[in-house]
Assembly symmetry: C2
């Protein structure tokens, strides 16, 4: 197998999913299970999450099967009992999935995905569905913060090189675009997702030329309408002057310099100086692009500088201030009976749940209620059916529709949640009385794990 292309394998899962499957099959435990995926808590300084990755998760679930080479490995690994590989050969997901649409704002302890399926099927999804939804949600939640403070300026994902592997690079482009980034430098995001891709030049391009002005001219001639010239390799303001001189010279040949990029130094001060040089040189329409260790805090600090667009890279794709979320996928019900984990510090709410959102008179979101699915309430029900009997319920929404939904979601955030720091009080998520009551019943029933619930 080629490690760079085999990551769609059914074996991209924790081994314990497979050992549990063998246990379930041998014990005949194939009744209906309900698992829910949620995030336990907000990282410090964060006020909300944005759900993302559902489209990739559904594609994975629909396609999940064991290929012949994978079955052969299972059979020959020495890790499993006789007959397990044959049983896996028939594996397909036949269950239902409910989820929050991508782009939906959510909060701790709110399920964003609920899987209802025969126990082995629902169990096997865990590792990869978490892997997908965790990462895209991580990046979307981070990217949304930059969108909120950028004041409408352009934002481009620049993170591929330091993303954690190939898929992270590609999915970061998608997750940031769906919450309002304008595009990505990752070329493959164009053909795969239809995301606008942007690219200028690196310092190496300037350095490979014997002088900077020659580099600018080579590039402008190659891209007569689109050249954005990187001017900080030696001296940023001197670079801007060279751009002005070049643009004058090339204009008569139909070549227009589109703009410049700054990648180091005091970006606010340099942007002002460069803007003056460009304007004085007749390049009022040339844009100024800024990059270099930017994150949402720097974007906010630079929002009033004469910068048209920001390239945000490493901090975005690694979510460097909070490089993971406490996302989990937990059994909430099996064979019609609610289940609850009580491990120290990791207790969960049992049963099939729904999240209802209430909106204030001013249109901002006011309160969420997490309750049992059977406890219908006013407000918007955030979990909607997305798969039934193993197939997707409706055609995947396009990224444009997801972006529009995310835009509405961000627009409905109350002002205190739109800031970059902690926003006391946190958004109010209420555990509804029927859910709390059920948890108490389950606790009594499984106290010490010794007694059974009298269902």
């Amino acid at each position: 197998m080629n490690p760079l292309t085999s990551t769609a394998s059914a074996l991209l899962t924790d081994l314990y999913q497979l050992t549990m499957l063998q246990g379930y099959y041998e014990a005949g435990m194939t009744d209906t299970a309900v698992f829910e995926l949620f995030v336990r808590k907000l990282p410090p300084g964060r006020n909300f999450f944005v759900a993302a990755g559902l489209e990739q998760a559904i594609a994975f679930i629909e396609d999940l099967h064991f290929a012949p080479s994978e079955l052969e490995w299972v059979a020959q690994s020495g890790l499993f009992g006789a007959g397990f590989a044959q049983r896996l050969e028939r594996f397909r997901f036949s269950g239902d999935v409910h989820a929050m649409p991508e782009g939906t704002v959510f909060f701790p302890n709110e399920p964003i995905l609920r899987v209802t399926a025969p126990l082995p099927e629902a169990q096997l999804l865990e590792s990869r569905v978490l892997n997908i939804l965790h990462y895209e949600t991580l990046v979307a939640s981070k990217a949304a913060r930059a969108v909120l403070v950028a004041g409408g300026k352009g934002l481009i994902d620049f993170g591929l090189r330091r993303a954690h592997g190939a898929e992270a690079g590609l999915l970061a482009a998608r997750a940031s675009f769906l919450v309002g980034f304008d595009g990505s430098a990752t070329t493959l995001a164009g053909p795969v997702f239809g995301i606008p891709v942007f690219g200028t030049m690196a310092h190496s391009f300037v350095q490979a030329h014997d002088d900077e002005a020659a580099a600018f001219e080579t590039f402008a001639r190659a891209f007569p309408k689109n050249a954005v010239l990187l001017i900080d390799t030696y001296d940023t303001v001197a670079g801007a002057r060279k751009v002005v001189a070049l643009a004058r010279r090339l204009r008569s040949r139909g070549i227009e310099v589109r703009g410049v990029r700054l990648d180091s130094g005091d970006l606010a001060a340099l942007a002002r100086e460069v803007r003056e040089v460009l304007d004085a040189g007749g390049l009022e329409r040339a844009i100024i692009f800024a990059s270099g260790n930017l994150d949402e805090y720097r974007v906010e600090a630079l929002a009033r500088a004469p910068i048209d667009s920001f390239g945000v890279g490493t901090s975005l794709v690694t979510s460097s201030d909070a490089p993971y979320l406490d996302a989990v996928y937990k059994l909430q019900e099996y064979a019609g009976r609610p289940r609850r984990k009580r491990s120290a510090g990791k207790a969960t709410w049992p049963g099939r749940k729904q999240v209802y959102r209430e909106v204030a008179a001013d249109g901002t979101i006011a309160r969420d209620v997490v309750t049992l699915e059977t406890d219908a309430r006013p407000g918007e029900a955030l979990l909607v059916p997305v798969m039934r009997a193993g197939r997707r319920v409706e055609k995947a929404p396009g990224l444009d529709a997801i972006r529009a939904h995310a835009r509405r979601e961000l627009d409905r955030l109350p002002p205190r949640l739109r800031t970059l720091g902690d926003a006391p009080p946190p958004y109010h998520v209420e555990i509804a009385p029927p859910l709390a009551a059920l948890a108490a019943v389950v606790d009594r029933a499984t106290a010490g794990g010794e007694t059974r619930e009298s269902a």
Copy 2:
């Protein structure tokens, strides 16, 4: 294209690599370029790096080409000039690569990879080679810290679910294994890399049963020699007592419980209590496995507890305390002339370089010298040829050989670098006089970017 399998695409690159390529081709700039990949600085609290990912980088470089569907996208994208796609159709890497072998300890400003090739070829490697080497080096450098403090106890990668995408999950298994982890829970790491895979059960397995003891029995019967039972779902010590009772009952049927896993609570105290319960119950040989938000600091704190193996997950695969390294790939020479970037805070050392390592009398490493390739010195030359004229120089070393090399490298670390905190003084990396002199020459030659070096 399927976004989950297309990450081996030549288009998984920053768009600016392609725009620069068009510029280079149009200007006829195809002379030999030298790029080097290095890390600018250590993250806080870190004392060294471990090089990893070279095997995947070489595989990428050897295979790099544009498939028909990718060429079609290039041609129809509207982003490039006429003829560019045809030019890319012939693209293959024909150059040389020098690198530090995987498992080598290294320090800031030391090149770990040097590419010597026609400028467009060397340029195009940047995004994906960085993406691969950055991530595996990040994880290997983090994993090595746990290896150094684990006191020989077992270490297993548990991180797939919160790794950043599929490839990160898979490559984290490899990067941690090559520095001394014992294996991974990521099943695919078995067939792809030959890495030992480990798996027990999740809380869901326990919860799906009506009581805990029944869950343990189901699992032990399914894995009569290998069952490791998760005992913290309700009450850890009570869980251990159930394991003892079960093991007594099943022993006569040839079923041996291999061990138990603790995943929450005060792991040191619980491990001691559980060890007593197991020993008193005749399970002296049963192992205790610990997991749950572990990192190298927790592993060090638990190294004296009666725990046999640790599962380390999220903190490892996201390198959560330092989720990225300041890794860069920089042009150092073009057409026989050294090049240097002077951007504020991002200056580089010009020219083709080699790193020499000096070893102290006690066998620990003492000092590295970074100098020009032409400046031969005593000590070990760390960069060795790995590709020549586009093909790998010799067969890839197996992971066992890489592990043995990494083991020797970690054994040679001086004691102060083996601790988890900052270790003053940092390891001494000297910039040799010929290199410093060359930098001064290049600076004078390109002052203001206006004048040319009189080569």
